[in-house]
Symmetry: C2
Subunit: 406 residues, 2 copies
């Protein structure tokens, strides 16, 4: 008998009918002989609705109270799911993040998990019941309710799987797995049977919308060796396994083409190429919580250089303000912005041992008349910044050139 | 500087605008120099909506999960109220029933408060903040979330006032106080300036809808000597004070006329008038959680008697089943039901020392052609069962005869 953590997202628990379908799914897993711990998100779009309600009530939105408010969402989903399980004769108890022993730091609305105690969950399992746990939430070291921020429910599920020694963490949603490219852009994109943690991290970091698995959940899974199975809550089809790379298996060179249209580019021109100048700028951006992604510095000419970076469009205004206020201090000529860009990336563990990939990529883009504005690479990823209106063509061309389709 | 507990019901916190009005009210109380602890109910009709959601999801509705679900309601209201207080510069923290130290027994959906620890609330007050506490909920001795059932939020507020040594518990709602009769039935009914706990208990027990204060909250307040101020959340007008009877003040003979149309009558006919027969019947009714109210046993004739009692209409079906299944065993001739009845009551601490009140009441009803079907009395109350279609006339006649109007 093995233990599996099953995580169901908002779409999967959006209404009574779907809650009953999830209960049925859990009941079948039990009949197969497995022990199950369930982690749920808030129903449908409830978290967004709670945020809107808060914004209608308050202009200050204190973090402690936002967490108290938002944590009501999962509470409803988990209680209702337990009721549906009772109806099927499956004994189950719901647990808040606090009751499940998910201990976090004290940073409200974006807390990090410090420890998972899990005593009550082990007790519940020992009594032959299914624990249903609220995702996205925990209790801080000062006994206040916290939420984990974006991707929090996935992280809760992986953390519980690690703490309880589960065989796997199954993530159920309306997305049946990880695909070689966004199927809306590439009709013959195919579901990947498996991926390494590293590949999944690169995909999670370079895809928009933020991918089927939250970056931090994958990171947690990699650090604790928890295999994740990404699959559909509407079928029993296998999805995509994300786990340790198996060195005995031959790796495909490229696993996926991803793209992201959510960022903008900022360029600070003609900055003196002296030690400390870039550091001063990036420290100020970090102090304002601006999320920098790609950073490129041109080769220096006459002691001056251009520094370009990409930021989420939502951070653009703040980034611009910071750069302009520093332009004088660092003797920059100008600060330019461009929100008509997009990123296209190739991800694949196999490219580590195949040196020709970047050349193939650049050639493919050139053959389609797609100009490359910035480049950044990791051992298993190559990302190019291109014009936003050319990104779909770029994705299709690369997907076809690397023969990723069905 | 004195401490006051302010309890706001669902109507008072129904939407962002009203939440901001409540925050303003709390801020003014603080500026007046008082310390405040706030207790809130769920917003508007949210508890009813959560119950409907549960009923759409499950047919078994396990109590532990119902409590987990319903406790989400106050959580939203208290977090939003704290945000609105922050906006006004009033520091405040929200607390769940569990965080506030409201310890209950383990009877889900109708838990009783065993103890109020309140350490975190005292700490919060000492830091100069306003604690905002979830009404209606607590944590059981086995660390499960519980709710207190009907009238739970009022009870939470009174229990906190008692535990924290508050000067008073102010109950705010859309009802500006306790009236001499239901103003919808008696247009010149007037607001009472004050009432004794005993009178309030009788009024709470005999009025429908269940009155402006829950019976159990009044009982708790009486046992702990906590004065309650029932008042409107939409004005600063004084409402009705409910407190210990002041023996130095002259009591009005009658304080209020109440009525109740929510009950039905059951009569078990021709029961042998022998010890233990009635006990057996009423034990079985108690085992089924049937809430008996008035019980009347006629004088025995030929060793046989009729036993009548009233029950909430919602319990009628179960009561009937129990009586029918026992009819043979206790040799009863028949079981009759009547859901066309209503109760009308006179309540007044002064009637203890004025023996003619019941005669006056019966005469007044007779003069208006209202037939009396059952009578029950306490030292400060007389209740008559009459036909439901005559109850409004009965209330108006009594209100006028005892000169209770403006």
């Amino acid at each position: 008998m093995s233990l599996v953590v099953q995580k169901f997202g908002g779409t999967s628990v959006a209404d009574p009918e779907r809650l009953r379908a999830v209960a049925d799914h859990v009941a079948r897993t039990r009949r197969r002989g497995d022990q199950v711990v369930v982690v749920v998100s808030a129903m449908g779009k409830e978290t967004d609705e709670l945020i809107r309600l808060a914004e209608r009530t308050s202009s200050t939105l204190p973090g402690r109270e936002m967490d108290m408010l938002l944590s009501a969402g999962e509470r409803k989903a988990m209680a209702l799911l337990c009721m549906a399980l009772h109806d099927l004769g499956v004994p189950s108890d719901s647990f808040t993040g606090s009751q499940a022993g998910i201990i976090t730091d004290t940073f409200h609305t974006r807390a990090k998990i410090l420890e998972v105690r899990g005593d009550r969950l082990r007790q519940c399992l020992a009594e032959g019941k299914v624990p249903v746990v609220a995702g996205f939430q925990g209790v801080s070291t000062t006994n206040d309710i916290t939420t984990l921020g974006r991707g929090g429910s996935d992280t809760s599920a992986v953390a519980l799987a690690a703490a309880l020694g589960a065989e796997a963490c199954e993530k159920y949603s309306d997305v049946p797995g990880v695909f070689t490219a966004d199927p809306r852009v590439v009709p013959d994109a195919k579901r990947l049977a498996q991926l390494s943690f590293e590949e999944m991290l690169e995909i999670a970091a370079t895809a928009t919308p933020p991918g089927v698995l939250a970056f931090r959940a994958v990171e947690f899974a990699r650090n604790h060796g928890v295999p994740i199975h990404v699959r559909s809550s509407f079928s029993w089809e296998p999805g995509t396994w994300v786990r340790e790379e198996d060195p005995s298996m031959e790796q495909p060179i490229i696993s996926a083409v991803t793209h992201d249209t959510s960022e903008a580019k900022v360029t600070v021109t003609r900055v003196p190429d002296k030690p400390g100048i870039a550091a001063r700028l990036f420290r100020s951006l970090a102090d304002e919580n601006v999320n920098l992604d790609m950073i490129v510095q041109n080769v220096s000419q006459e002691g001056l250089t251009d520094i370009s970076f990409t930021v989420p469009k939502s951070d653009l205004e703040v980034a611009l303000k910071v750069c302009r206020s520093h332009a004088g201090e660092i003797s920059a000529a100008d600060v330019l912005t461009d929100d008509g860009i997009a990123k296209v990336s190739l991800v694949g563990a196999g490219m580590k041992t195949h040196p020709g990939v970047s050349a193939d990529m650049f050639e493919t883009l050139a053959n389609h008349g797609v100009n490359i504005e910035m480049i950044s690479t990791s051992p298993i990823r190559i990302t190019c910044v291109v014009r936003a209106d050319q990104v779909e063509e770029a994705v299709q061309a690369l997907h076809s050139a690397f023969e990723l389709g069905e």
